[in-house]
Amino acid sequence: MTDRSVRLLLLASVFVIATCGLIYELIAGTLASYLLGDSVTQFSTVIGAYLFAMGVGSWLSRFVERRLLSVFVQVEFYVGLVGGASAALLFGLFGQVGSFRVLLYALVFLVGAMVGLEIPLLLRILRDRLEFKDLVAKVFALDYVGALLASLLFPLVLVPKLGLVRSAFFFGMLNVLVGLATLRLLRDRITWARGHALVGGLILALLGTGFALSDRLVSWAEGATYSDVIYARSTPYQRIVLTRGQGDLRLYLNGNLQFSQRDEYRYHEALVHPGLAAAPRRARVLVMGGGDGLAVREILRWPDVEQVTLVDLDPAMTRLFSTHELLTALNGGALASPKVRVVNADAFLWLQGQPAAAWDFILADFPDPSNFALGKLYSTAFYREVRRALAPDGVLTVQCTSPYAARRAYWTTIHTLDATGFGTRPYHAYVPSFGEWGFVLASPAALPPPSAGLLPPGLRFLDAPTLADLFRFPRDMAEVPTEVNRLNNQALVRVFEEEWKEHAH
């Protein structure tokens, strides 16, 4: 091995590791703004943390006294492993960990510190082979050229062609290859060369597997149909998908939009406040469905609400919206309130086991009746159970799909409540991401109109004139005769399917 070729290899390494280092930084920054939104803040803090970690790594390099080459090789392996897997880890763990930011900055710091070690180590390794001014000039020039290459490759080639997860694996492998090449050329000067080679080979195989499986990882994490998926999970009951595009956080269940961060306040204010403003008492509240906690957030605005029981079938939903910082920020931590009790159970079965007249206000916020299992939650049999559990003068609010897009389905629900002995007051609100949306107030007793004077402060949508308007139905949404939805005819599911099919075309 000539000295010249060793020198060339090491200088080439500078170029490669500089590229890799910047790529990891860009990936972390992009993923953070992609998952958390607010790209200026994310990029700025990720870059700051990364540079600071590099400084820490550089400083730490002074503690490496002997076996410089061996340490350098190991740093290459581990930076390759951690940096290479970083995108997959951040994507995959986004929904699983309570505090995503802790994970993010821990990874950024670890990679940054290791990248910070590289250049000082290389400088010291090359010290005896080059004159100092040459050494500094060449190393830093290559470092900055590598950075330029990375910053051009990243937006133009890597993100569009490879995607974030696969790019990270790719550059991780490059880091490991640098380590392996160094080992090969200088094996006589490195102790335990064989052992190191084995570790390097193993990490390379891991990253290679990750690279090959990225497609599956990505489709798992990003979903096939959504462009900006930040969380996706299939539970036994549904597929939960969170997306974030142009700063708009959205929740989809089985492909149906549940809320858009931009206008969910319209939906949830309309869902919650008219019923509570009409109820003679509000101490005991039951919410069925609504595992996102957004309705509970609105309910907790009412000071006289003493306890809220939220019954949602899917523990994955309530856990996600109780623990994930992005989502608890949206629902104001409603599910963690001492007033709130979360029950994961089937609403129909659970309700049957409850005492009579146990609630002053009940909210039924189920997914639309798009299948026979969901249709049961809009049936006379179900509303009979609700009626039993509701105080004799209590109020029920039901979300009942769009009276514009599915007019007969909407009025079927109203007529089903009528047939079960409820007095009803149908109303609707405009929610841009949903369109015209329908609700109904129902009570076993005479139902007064909700009093606007009672509305809690701080609402963004409802005020007195708006509240009164909700109860007016223009001609294209006005009442139509329909069947009553029973378990043995599932009239609602059938009408709903027909109408939405037409609407979609």
């Binding site: 036994p236 006379t380 043995n488 599932q490």
Partner: protein, 537 residues
Amino acid sequence: MISRRRFLDAAVGAALLAGCEREKSRVVPGEITGASFRRGHRLWQGGRFPVAAETLRCDVAVVGGGIAGLAAARRLDRGGTRNIALLELEDEAGGNSAFSANAVSAYPWGAHYVTLPAEEAGEVIALYEELGLITGRDGAGRPIYDERALVMDPPERLWMLGRWQEGLSPKLGASDVELRELAAFQRETRRLRDARGADGRRAFAIPVDRSSRDPEWLALDKITMGEWLDARGWRSPRLRWFVDYACRDDFGATLDQVSAWGALHYYAARNGIAANAETDAVLTWPEGNGFLTRRLREGLEDRVHSACLAWRVEAKPGGGSVIVDAWDFRLERPVRWEARAAVVCTPLHVTRRVVPALRERRLAPPPDPAPWVVVNLTLDRRPAGQGFALAWDNVLYDSRSLGYVVATHQRLDRPGADAPTVLTWYQPLCDGPLGPERVRAMERTHADWCELALADLRRAHPDIDRSVQRADVRVWGHGMTRPAPGWTWGGSREQWAEPLGTIHFAHSDLSGISIFEEAYTRGVLAAEAVAAQMAAV
């Protein structure tokens, strides 16, 4: 000499093959339940039973604990005759409405639904009111049924041409001619539904004996359903299948083995009305008619003597009482009851051996009931399939089976994708001469029955082997009676039902169709006749 390499290759190949074989015919755990034929056949294996030395006494002995027997015992009990002994061959009373349960669900072993009763079935309506199945009446006086017992939507689907379609009428891919025939048949049965005779009675009523006796209708008893279809020129395979399926489902017989009257009765007697359901709605429960069995048994537990074979019922010489000789399989000893009266509620092929005095009547033999097999499949998830959603009754076109009903269909909760279920799969063994079919059925093993059921279902559910956790099998040697031509209105049916002194008879075989309403009504009427007779003494 075989080289080591060759040997290894062969060994690995064999192991792989063995692995494949095992995968293909994985042993599904489960058992064949129901002991009846071994016990029952002691009746005609010449085995005379010993006679008990001591005699127990009761007011009324009820022989046979199917629906008719339970109905009779219950009616007597409610009427104040409490000293009853009901003797049942099986370990549990219930007859064709037997049921079981496991950790996943309760499930039926036989009958699994009842139709809405029309006004002729007064006894049945009164029962449903008593059981809370009818919760009230609307302004027009129409009964309101408990919504949880009405079969939930969707009730039925049919597998044909590689996908599930809604409903049982085989319309998928049908030609215009076939669709016209199906529609014409439906119009004709609708017409017969509303038809009444000159005597003011419905042409086809439940109970059967409350139907019109106009010769126009009774003539339909003399021809087979196949001949009736031929006479109308209705020959399309789809309509034939549709009608044949119904005959096999309701009578365990093909359309050439039942009378036109019997087959048309199935369609035309569904005249029930309800405030909250269509006229052709049915009532069902996870355990099928086991629900009704359970409710009928309530309060009678201490008077039901199960695992008891009554082998002789005769008037005591000198009169005045009835002697019932039985064998208690649990205690392995004979039992003798002396009762003031008896109601014999066994199927007719048993009745004629148990009541020697009937031989003097020289009655025409009743139709031979076909053997049946029922396989309850416990699955770790609901079966997936192309097309329409899982229904309660799921039928496969062009299969000799009757498909399956889903025990968890009436559950109110939203099942998750991983929700387990129990499917009850049925097949009447009526395609060959019944004697040999019955012998073959008794020889088949648990694995044979599993394969029969799974091979049938694999067509619609290719992945079913992976989700089957357990398969329990019951073989009914004599499943249910059928309205063979001439049987319903030929005259001998009434003779079979005629009481012998204080020995009365009640069983749906006496109606020629095997449905809950017939058995229940006959049980109640026999009990009332016995009570009246005893009161007159």
